[in-house]
Amino acid sequence: MTRKLALALLALVLALAVGATAALAASIRATADPGVTPSTIVLGGTAPLTGSASASAALARGAHAYIDYVNSRGGVNGHRISYTILDDASDPDQADEATHRLVEQEGVFAVFNSVGTDQNLAVRDYLNQKKVPQLFAASGSSALGRQASQFPYTIGLRPTYTAEGWVLGQYLARTQGAAKVAVLYENDGYGQELLSGLRRGLQRSKVKVAAVQRYDASASDVQAQVARLRISGANVLALFASPRIVVQALKYANTLGWKPKLTLDSAAAASASVLQAASEKGTNKVVNGVVSVAYLKDPTDPRWLKSASMKLYRRVMTRFAPGADADDVSHVYGMAAAWTAVEAIRRAGDDLTRARLVQIVGSLSLQGNPFLLPGIAIKTGPDDHFPIEQMLLQRWHKGAWRSFGGIWSYRGT
C-alpha cells in the first residue's frame, strides 16, 4: 500500500463518515412551521459565551432561567419551550453561522434574544428573507427598529441608545444650569449613538458638550483620555463605556482630584458590583450620586427588594441559574425579554405560526411586565418597532441604585 493511496483512502473514509453521521443527524421537520411540535416550541439565539464581552451572556442566561421556570409551571398553552443559546464570541460571522445552524439544523421557530448589535445586523437580512422572526434582539441600536416595513420580522426590545442618551441630556439640561459636559465613549455604534442622543437631549439648553474622548473596545486603560477630559474644565462627566472602563475612569478621576457630576448609560451601570468595586469601600466619593437610566427593576434597589417580582426573580435565579451574579441587572433584562416572548406566544393560542407571532409582536400593548419598572409599557405599532421607549432615572446611593422622578418617554427613531 503506497503512501498516497493510503491518504486517499483515509480522506475517503473521513468524508464518508462525516457525511453518514450528518445524514443521520439531520432531521428536517416537514411541519407547517418549523420549531413547533404538539409538545414543544423551539427557540434559539446567539450570545458571547466566550471572548471579551462574555459578561453580556448574562442577558441570555437570565432569559434561559425564566424559561426553565415557565416550563416547570407547565409551559405556555401546554407547550414546553426549548431555548438554545449558541456561542458567537462577539464575532458577527460566528453569529451568522450559529444562526444558520439554529434555523437550518435545529429548526427553531424563532431566533430570540440574540445579543449584540453587529451580530443581529449580520443576520437580519437572512432571517427576514427566510421569514424567521428575529424576536427581541438584545441590542439598543436604533438600526434594529428602523425600516420596520423592510424588515418586518425584526424587532428589538430595550430602549435605544439614542433614547437613553436623550434622557440623560434632558436631565442635565433641566438640572445643571450652564454646565459643561465631558464624554468618554466606546468607539462603536453603542457609544456613538449614546453621544448623539445626548447631544439631541441637550439641544437648545445652556448645557454644552465641552470635550469628547473615545476609546477602542480593546483598550486596557483610559487614563490618558480621562486626563484630557479633566483639563477641559467640565463639571459633568458622561461615561458611555463597558463596566471595566467605567470603573477605571471613576477611580482615575478620583485620583486626579476631579469630582464631576457623573452620568452613566444603563449598560455601563449594569452590574452593581461594578460601582461597588469603584467606590472602594466608600473611599471614592466620586461614585456617590452617579445618575443613570433604568427601565428594569434593579436587584439592589431597596424599593423593590420586598416586591413580589423581585422575590420571584431571586427564586428563579437561585433555582435555575445557581452561581450567577443575581445583582447583575442583565439577568433581569433576560427575564423581562423572556416574559414578553412567553406573553406573545400565549396570545397566539392555537394559531402558532411565525406570521401570527410577527403580527402579534408588531401590535403589542403590554403593561405589567413584572421585571420592568412600574408604569413602563411595551408598545409597538406598524411603524413602531421600538417596544420600550420609557425610562426612569436612577441614582447610586450607599451601595444601591434608587430610581427617582417620573417616567421619561422618548419618541423618535
Partner: protein, 294 residues
Amino acid sequence: MADFVQQVVAGLASGSIYASLALALVLIHRATGVINFAQGEMATLSTYIAWTLTTNHGWNYWPAFAFTLAVSFLGGAAIHQTVIRPNEKGSLLRVVIVTIGLLILINGLVTLIWGGEVRAVPSPFPSGTTEIAGVAITTQDIGTILVVVATVVVLWLMFQYTKIGLAMRAAAVNPAEARLVGVRVTWMLSLGWGLAAVLGAIAGMLAAPSVFLDPNLMAAILIYAFAAAVLGGIDSPVGAVVGGLTLGVGLNLIGAYVDFVGADLRLPVALLVILVVLLVRPAGIFGREEVRRV
C-alpha cells in the same frame, strides 16, 4: 504644561505595568528561548487566586500575596514540566501552539471558575494621591515603579552573581555543554518558567488595583508587554523596563497630541512599534545583535 506632565506621569504608571509583564516574557525567552503567549493569562489566574484569598476567604494582603507567588512558581514550573518539555524537542511551532492552547484554556478556566464580572482588588500600597504643581501621582503608581525597578535589580543580581543564575544562563545558551558541566538543564528551564510565573503574578497584582480585575485583564496588556520587550530587547530585563516606560509615555503623548492617532489607536501604534523595531533593529535597544557564523 501641567497636562503634558500629567500625561507623562500617567504614561510612566501604565508603562511600569507593561514593564512588569514584559519582564516575565523576557525571563522566559532568555531562560528557555520560547515566547510564552500564555504569560498574560497565567498572570490573570494568579491575580484571581490572590483576589479570592483576600476577598472570599478573608486572608490578609501579604500572606495572600506570598501564597500566590508560591503557587504561581509551582504552577509555572509544573506547566513547563508537564506540557512544554515534551514538546521542546519538536519544532518551534509545536511549542507556540501549546502556549496558545494554554492561553485559550486558562482564559476559559478563569471565566468558568470566577465569572466575567469586574472585581476590585486591594492594593499593597496605601491609597493616597500626591499633588505636585497640579499633577496628580498616586502612591500606587510610585509603588509600582519602585517594585518594577527593584525586581529588575534583583533579577540582574541573581543572573550575574549567583550560581543558579549562572546555571540558568548556561542552560539557555548551550544546553549540551551545560549538561557536561553538571547543570541540570531541565530543572533550570522549569525554574525559569516558575520565576517568570512569579513575575507575571507580580505584574497582575500591581495592575489590578487600578485597572480592575476581570478575565481579560491581561489581554491588551500582553500586547503592550510584547511591544515593550521587543523595544527594549527581548533578552534584556533592563530593556523590558526601559521599553515599557518609554512605550507608556510615548503612547500617551502620541495619543494626546497627534490628532490623527487619537487615544483610541494606541494599540495599533504599539504594534507598529513592534514591527518597526523588528525590522530596523530586531535586538531592541539593549539587546545584543545575533551574529551567525557560517
